[in-house]
Symmetry: D2
Subunit: 341 residues, 4 copies
């Protein structure tokens, strides 16, 4: 069998960031690697290799004309983590070219942070540390005023993909009743994970802790706004872990400022956040600078998933770890590409 | 059957703190209640009722002479949470009088806090919030420098009673390898909880996250000191959730100050902590003012466990929820009584 | 410290049956062993050693007079598995002598059998094998007539001690709603195991699968009789795994014979069962000759639990694996001693 | 929006077999149903409706010419459970037509049977029942000779798709070490399910209980033969739950007959099995007439999964419950169509 040619165009990732040595070794055994890591792969370089390429690992634009020049191409693996609009998904489907992304690589990092932040808000952990540093700590029962036990508290999850499901698994020993709102999923899938499928309003009204994992799509911009926040019970906890665009962010900050809810957010409409943003000094807000997912471990998961699936594909077997692009879905997603890892 | 007499002397708790209405109602149905909540029950009051008392709920001193005057006494339930030396445990054993404490009432509150704090230290959650408030946040991968994934990290648990076991159950979905040091337990019990029984030194050297739940006894004062801390890997995480006396506390603070380890502590040698304590400004320390256990929910658990066991005992059945004092063990414990709830 | 003297009088067990070599070695390291395995320890031998004995492993009679002659005795471990009336439990309590039994040793053996038998009855496994051997098998859907899926079916557990709880843990992935009837337990304990505490009638009426683990006591002889069986839904499944005495056995057989219920039983009023017993040919009955518990593995568990607790006790620590006799409870139990292992 | 046309050609299933009333109602709300249940849909009927059909539920042949005549077709759902070679999978992929099968519908039925059969063989349940009926039962320990505890025994799973994974989840409380052989899966997927990926020989040599869930493909006919059976430890247990073709069946029967292994099989090279087959009287064989999967409940799962996915597809969303055909994989499968349900 001839040695497959593998184009690697991973920026803003690099192979070192996503592969530990054993995985790098497995990748090198798969074929001949052509790598562009210091800059996006130049057009002439891409085009030169199209006739021979079997596998493309990276975010290279692949319109139909390029696909037409790549008769041996079997798969494209986006290692950034979000499907981008620079690929002709329909043409790939027709050709049986897998378009993949190891999106689940981030799930464990995000889910464990999300859980810790939720307990933090329920129990006042960071706030109590801050009070202690200010010499204003309260001991014992007095120090727990306004807090609640996370164990057993009703939880709502908005968006039930890899992240939401990984979090849900972490909740099992806490015995929370869990309701889920995800308009892309049938109730059967939600119930199979021991959650109750509900509408958005019901979820907001009945949960003490609400996790937002919803992707940003062409249809859901700002779908949690003033009306929705006001459905929440006072003293509840709200965590944004996916995209700032899915909430009305100024209204979100007003709700936290007012003290009606406590919240955490890992994302902001503009990053970096302005120095003078009022978010920086809100008592009820736990601030995270888009860092719940992007851990060293998550990046190494990307390499592990990519290489394991590449091995299968080159053996003629279907991939098992990365998510496949669905042309219908890919067209709806509205993620911004990541500028820096 | 004659109506049992129940003495209730719960300070520093009160019935309202430990019983929600349904539990209070069940308690009142059990017998005639004689309650002293505004002050410890006066001696003359205790002594007046001894001949008739069936159940004592509270921390009243019960030396052998008093026990001798209480022929109907079936059980003493300490609702503070720690066995005190003011009871003649041997005399109770001879008489078949249960001496009980609902110590497990605090387990869920402590365990969920402990888990959140451990993830917080592994992932830098509170520290990142503090940096954000100071305008010094870093985004994405850069913001995760020096952190590690809690999921899958080796965990060590020192002291494997109610608290340690409740925490262990919360760890299941995280798939941490868990080692346990508890010199009071046989390896069989530890293995039954899917943990590895190890010596203290092994535990400290091999764990990324160490939880201390050990009770203070007559034998273990300061058993984790300089030598032990130096066995830990740099960048590891250490959490004290039981009693400050079990560690060499000044050395503990030196280790955190030096940056070798990150830590959380819920307890301090002297509480409240002095205003000028250097602990208040250490970057690597998560500060908690003896508040992981004393939640509203935990106190209500006390009532629930006390009343459920009282119901059984008055039906002639053994208690099922509270822990029984073991004369041998009770003599070794060195908890200070709680002054305020 | 002087070498403790350990009397070993284990019949109908023998040390070889209950100890694998490593456990035997640990036992021998504990002290000087005086063993009687070929016959019950003769009275004169027992009495000779009483003044020095620290630990008694076996079923030797220990009335108060003997206890009075054994000032160093710390614990008695019954290795047969049931507390017998030949011990003065009250005298032991007064002296702080632990009376123990490794009753949980049988739990895993019984529970896995019980689960397999329940699925067998729900799905018709043994019956289908019998039909196949008779040349009367039916394929596919036709072969499943009258069966039901065990997964998710309502389960009732009568008696919620070690056996019931071990079974309950095995059910978790099957997602059965589980109700429990146990008059010795408060609802709190049952709910802590994710079961619903209910009355006996409710349990029988609402469950598709009923497991009986109740011990025989002075109060519950035949408490499941005609009236109770008639509460069960036709086509339900009933399994007896503890003592035949707790059901009206002739009525039980009539119910199975009639085809109203399918059943399994591991116990019989008289064992061995008479050659001509009609039970031997009932279509709806799964027959087990008192063999769900008495496995090689269970017997080896006895030794493991006994020796681990003996080690603790001789170090002055409380036992952790065996169950302690409760004088009140021990007096109510009505188990027959086991004649053969 | 115009009402979608849905062709329903489900034989050997019928709508009543696969839909309970609520699911039938949801199906009817989805569009206009054209149903052929008493015979396979006649060609002229299929062809008449092709120009309008949105959804095809059934096993109708769909070569490229028919697909070309069905411009509105969005999905084909095979409700028999196996992909058949009568569809042009490549043409469907090019058109973005989902080809689906609710194969997981059988997983719970098969998995619970497989577990019960494995415990049965480990513990001798059906064999003991047979002995009891023959008047030859042995009680207690004597009745357990040659058996072993399933709990904790090393398990091997061959083929790790829906069935194998569902079984694996049932094993969790039994704490078996589980190894998996599946050449279509990367080690990462197997480890994510807490199993050890191993080669076939290792699996056979190290497991006490071996489950075969492998599909029959063009490549694996009889891949478990004499050499492989001889790698197994004497007294081990072997269960065939997928297709008889994957083992050398005569050799399998010889191994069971010899007493080296105990076994269960749900499938046979020819069904119905010949009246005089020696399999019918083998002591070590648990016989099941292709009935572990085909339960009423599994058939109703088919309808539930089909209708839930049909709802999503008609809303423009990707299916979530059924498995999608992969052209590469579909070409390798060698299932015989089911003649009767």
């Amino acid at each position: 069998m001839e040695t497959p040619l593998i184009l690697i165009d991973p920026l803003p990732r690099t192979l070192d960031l996503i592969c530990y040595p054993e995985i790098r070794r497995r990748l090198e055994e798969l074929g001949r690697l052509v790598i562009s890591e210091d800059r996006p792969m130049p057009d002439e370089m891409v085009e030169k290799y199209l006739p021979e390429v079997s596998l493309l690992i990276g975010q290279t634009a692949m319109p139909r004309e390029r696909l037409n020049c790549a008769p041996k191409l079997k798969a494209i693996v986006n290692v950034e983590g979000n499907f981008l609009p620079n690929i002709d998904y329909q043409a790939c489907a027709e050709r049986g070219i897998y378009v993949l992304t190891p999106g689940a690589a981030f799930a464990r990092s995000v889910a464990e942070s999300a859980l810790a932040m939720a307990i933090d808000l329920a129990r006042g952990i960071t706030a109590a540390d801050r009070a202690f540093r200010a010499g204003a700590e309260k001991y014992g029962l007095a120090g727990n005023e306004g807090t609640f036990l996370f164990t057993g508290a009703p939880v709502g999850i908005i968006g039930f993909g890899d992240l939401g499901r990984t979090l849900r698994a972490l909740l099992v020993p806490f015995r929370n009743p869990v309701s889920v709102f995800d308009p892309w999923l049938p109730p059967e899938v939600i119930r199979d994970h021991c959650c109750e499928p509900v509408g958005l309003d019901d979820l907001l009204g009945s949960s003490r802790v609400v996790f937002v994992f919803a992707s940003a799509t062409s249809e859901n911009r700002g779908f949690i706004g003033k009306r929705e926040f006001e459905l929440m019970q006072p003293g509840s906890v709200f965590l944004i872990l996916s995209r700032a665009a899915v909430v009305d962010f100024p209204e979100f900050l007003r709700q936290v400022q007012s003290g009606r809810i406590r919240a955490a957010t890992d994302v902001f409409p503009d990053e970096p956040v302005a120095a003078e943003s009022p978010a920086r000094s809100m008592e009820g807000l736990l601030l995270s600078a888009h860092r719940t997912g992007g851990t060293t471990d998550a990046l190494l998961q990307i390499g592990r998933m990519t290489v394991a699936d590449a091995e299968l594909i080159l053996r003629g077997l279907p991939p098992q770890l990365c998510r496949r692009a669905d042309p219908a879905v890919a067209a709806r997603l509205r993620s911004k590409p990541v500028a820096v890892t």
